[in-house]
């Protein structure tokens, strides 16, 4: 528990620093008002926009904890969104059937990754690269390369656009997903199994864990999370855009996990850290959008440069080699 607190402290501090910066630079950032029964303002905006990446980072955390990585989450998002939109616009399928189908295709995609990694024994980067390339193609195949708009279904647009407890409904979905994942991994032994596989695969096998099965489940779960993210995204923009849905989000998700303190080499994982990481990434983007230097906006292009610096700083902070160098110097002098 202390270990967890210590690790999650860093991203929490980083988020607070960002918020404090906004407190002085953009007082508007904290402005909240109620418009038509819904709280609106930048803070809510950050939560709503971060929703897909938070979901992706949940699955990604578990995958990375087993020592793997899933590059296909963005493409799987596009697939589930595309299937939902196609079913909605071209068939009479009920909302339940449609959601189950969209989640189903995502779970199958995840299971496929899991099969390649755990049964065939292919390296995770390569195994998921296949679906990263082909998945977007499959999504485009479903939508025939068009952007399919999904106006008309109240139930479907509620997922990404509705309001519950004064907040966007997607925030509630994501919060429930976070809690459910935390309960599944921390109230059962599953979390320990996952960390054990990532920590030392051979030792776990000797201890009697079914390593293959755990890997398979983790990738399937990651697929499910991506599917849910894809549905929320499609509902939010009321369209399935196979070319752009989830583009580059795999990188954001991996980044969120690493910022959150989970090492890419596997082992211990921190779900709360990943959620904070995803929020940091989105707060950063919103901050850059809102901050003005003099009376000029910072061009959005700077977002990428700031992100690069964040990645490097986080990596360096976690680098044992750097810590060793600094400590050795301290001892020498």
């Amino acid at each position: 528990m202390r270990e967890t607190l210590k690790t999650v402290l860093w991203p929490a501090v980083a988020l607070l620093v960002l918020l404090a910066f906004n407190f002085f630079a953009n007082p508007n950032f904290f402005h909240l008002e109620i418009v038509e029964g819904r709280i609106s303002g930048s803070l809510v905006d950050v939560l709503e926009r971060a929703a897909p990446v938070v979901l992706l980072s949940l699955g990604m955390t578990l995958v990375i904890a087993t020592g793997g990585v899933d590059l296909s989450v963005g493409a799987v998002m596009a697939m589930s969104g595309a299937l939902a939109a196609v079913l909605l616009s071209q068939t009479e399928a009920s909302l339940t059937v449609l959601l189950l189908a969209a989640l189903g295709v995502a779970a199958v995609a995840g299971a496929w990754n899991g099969f390649l990694v755990s049964v065939i024994g292919i390296q995770p980067i390569v195994a998921t690269l296949i679906l990263m390339v082909a998945g977007r193609g499959i999504a485009q195949l479903m939508t025939d390369g068009q952007i399919i708009t999904v106006r008309g279904s109240e139930g479907f647009s509620y997922i990404g656009g509705g309001t519950l407890f004064g907040l966007p409904f997607s925030v509630t979905i994501v919060a429930s997903a976070v809690i459910a994942t935390a309960m599944l991994t921390r109230w059962t032994a599953m979390g320990l199994f996952i960390e054990s596989v990532g920590g030392n695969e051979i030792a776990s096998r000797y201890a009697g864990l079914n390593v293959r099965w755990i890997r398979f489940l983790v990738y399937t779960f990651c697929g499910l999370c991506s599917g849910l993210a894809g549905i929320i995204y499609a509902s939010d923009i009321t369209a399935a855009d196979s070319n752009n849905a989830g583009l580059y989000l795999e990188l954001d998700a991996i980044l969120a996990v690493v910022i959150g303190g989970t090492a890419l080499t596997g082992g211990r994982f921190y779900l709360l850290g990943s959620v904070l990481g995803a929020l940091i990434i989105q707060t950063l983007a919103t901050t850059i959008l809102m901050t003005k230097i003099g009376d000029k906006d910072i061009p959005t292009e700077y977002n990428l440069i700031v992100k690069a610096i964040v990645v490097l700083v986080v990596c360096l902070l976690q680098s044992a080699a750097l810590r060793g160098m600094v400590l050795r110097k301290a001892v020498d002098t």
Binding site: V69, I120, G121, I122, Q123, I125, V126, A127, L129, I130, L131, M132, V133, A134, G135, R136, G137, I138, Q140, L141, D144, G145, S242, L251, I254, L255, V258, L264, T265, P299, E301, Y302, N303, L304, I305, V306, K307, A308, I309, V311, L312, C315, L316, S319, A320, A321, L322
Partner: protein, 323 residues
């Protein structure tokens, strides 16, 4: 008696066979395809991808990965255009400057990977964000045209070859780079060290090989190749553009894998990458011949090819380790 086929040659032979099959099938199916013109433009159109993939081959052979090559191509194309137009440098100065910048960028990433033992995946991811970000900031997301510059006309019009068989300059640059890379990988100390590091880093270290220095060099080489790709792209299309080559790193990795190089490092041939690039190139042009096929089929086809080659390699690996 048939000479015994060494298992390490199987993937590269399979790659060549796939290319020949694909090329003949497309030639038979679409009459206009089988011509020198098509073949030379296949090489020329994929020159930047091919150059990036050449550098990527070394990175992957050493057991690493470089996600920044697409962004470096964009940055280099843009720097090239800015050198020629805004800073009015002569091409003889501008080209080495841009190539040096790319090399420095790669070496910087390599240094981070070497000294701080950071995962290449994350460092080159940061490099990708940084290079793309700098390119976008410098240009405000606008294209810089260099079509007025005399070098563009020269680059566009120059072809090298004999009689009817002429190759445009991008293709020449690509082929030269690949040939050089084959020599470097096969017959230099650096090349052999790359294989050793990728095969087993600890053994390489114990043998006294310069593991750290080789890692820095590998990423510097990848930066150099990508920057050359950017120069070729800028001169070939007559513009520097910060938004080109999105996700090109994926195609480059795919080309290397389809070319028979093992992603875990240590096994593979640069020549395979040439065929990997050509296979991707043929798959990409098929939809322009077949009206009812759409571009997304190319993605699915590339995914399938990746699958076949990865499973094949996995099978060979298992087979090899059992002996």
């Amino acid at each position: 008696m048939m000479p015994k086929l060494r298992p390490q040659y199987v993937p590269i032979l399979a790659t060549m066979a796939v290319f020949l099959l694909l090329f003949s099938a497309v030639s038979v199916r679409y009459g206009g395809f089988f011509s020198w013109f098509q073949f030379s433009s296949l090489l020329a159109d994929n020159a930047s991808l091919g150059l990036a993939a050449t550098g990527m081959t070394f990175v992957i052979l050493s057991g690493g990965i470089d996600l920044s090559v697409g962004a470096v191509i964009a940055l280099a194309s843009m720097l090239m255009a800015m050198c020629l137009t805004q800073w009015e440098l002569s091409p003889q100065v501008a080209i080495p400057v841009v190539m040096a910048a790319g090399t420095g960028f790669g070496a910087g990433m390599g240094a981070l990977i070497r000294w701080f033992r950071l995962p290449p995946f994350l460092v080159t991811l940061a490099g990708m964000f940084l290079a793309r970000g700098i390119a976008l900031v410098l240009t405000n997301d606008k294209r810089i045209s260099i079509t007025d510059h005399p070098i563009y006309d020269w680059f566009f019009d120059t072809e090298i070859g004999w009689s009817d068989y002429q190759l445009p300059l991008p293709a020449i640059v690509f082929l030269c780079a690949i040939s050089l890379a084959i020599v470097v990988a096969r017959s230099t100390r650096f090349g052999r060290t790359v294989y050793a590091v990728g095969g087993n880093e600890r053994s390489a270290l114990l043998m006294g090989l310069p593991v750290g220095r080789t890692k820095v060099k590998v990423y510097a080489l990848s930066g150099l190749c990508a920057a050359t790709g950017g120069v070729v792209h800028a001169l070939g299309t007559g513009a520097g553009d910060a938004s080109i080559a999105y996700m090109l790193e994926l195609d480059a990795i795919a080309a290397v894998v389809i070319g028979g190089t093992l992603l875990s490092g240590g096994v593979g041939y640069v020549l395979g990458t040439l065929f990997g690039v050509l296979i991707l190139g043929v798959i990409t042009v098929i939809p322009s011949y077949q009206g009812n096929l759409n571009s997304w089929w190319t993605k699915i086809a590339i995914g399938l090819l990746l699958l076949v080659f990865i499973v094949l390699q996995r099978f060979l690996q298992r087979h090899g380790s059992k002996q």
